[in-house]
Subunit: 125 residues, 2 copies
DNA sequence: AAAAAAAGTTAGATTTTGCTAACATAGAAT
DNA sequence: ATTCTATGTTAGCAAAATCTAACTTTTTTT
């Protein structure tokens, strides 16, 4: 399964919901992302088949090692980008929205370089 | 016509080709983007219908006012992002690739703020 | 236990954006 | 003028990611 932007968003959402709600079902993902239940059901089926998530008898979703790796990776980009944009004066709502869109296109190299720049060479407000 | 990422890329390519080649036909766009002739033909038809480009009898393409506005907008983001990434140490090839992907997700606000930051608050190497 | 509500699935449609195959047209070269 | 080559178009296919409608299953409430 080639990981598409859409898949990255689903996995990231599952991670975030796990952190805030403690447990995650398909319906929570649907509500959080504003998608219909069938859309989420379909995506979760693909993720199950590709071992990015496990789903227990009660419908509760957990990320597999690989799923978690992808989710963490994207979430890291998201947080860094949002933080950086806010630091240069972008409104926090806009920064969060933009981070969602930008996080998928950032290469590993740019991610690392921007993270370093942000954390070590931008200590002035 | 809602302008999709794909449309932004086509219009940006037309602008770049106009600048480098002087004139642009569908075949040039196809070669530059690595797409088939039918894909480009179809896209150009939509752009014609939506008055984003004009095509003369010889098949030469010009951007309309609206098409040019979109192309310039995206191209500005592209140049700024690539310049910024290079300035923080990203390899120029990677920076150009990343700029292509990031340019579509950047809001006007983030674009302006990042441009200002890059041009006025990053004068050290 | 029966009914109602919530959650999940299946089937099928739609949109976007690419493709190949086949055809048409135009321009250039011999 | 005929042929070859380049360019463009039409028709139809495919994958990804969404949707609605309808159905099933599970859980909760009474």
């Amino acid at each position: 399964m080639k990981i598409q932007e859409s898949a990255e968003n689903y996995l990231e959402t599952i991670l975030k919901l796990k952190n805030t709600l403690g447990q995650v079902r398909s319906i929570d993902v649907a509500n959080a992302m504003g998608f219909s239940k069938p859309s989420v059901s379909h995506a979760m089926k693909l993720f199950r088949e590709n071992e990015l998530i496990d789903v227990d008898a009660g419908g509760y979703i957990t990320l597999t090692e690989r799923g978690l790796e992808i989710a963490n990776n994207i979430y890291g980009r998201h947080m860094m980008l949002a933080g950086f944009l806010m630091a240069i004066g972008v409104d926090s709502g806009v920064a969060l929205e933009d981070a969602c869109k930008l996080e998928h296109g950032l290469s590993d190299e740019s991610y690392c370089k921007l993270k370093h720049f942000f954390e070590h060479e931008m200590k002035k407000q």
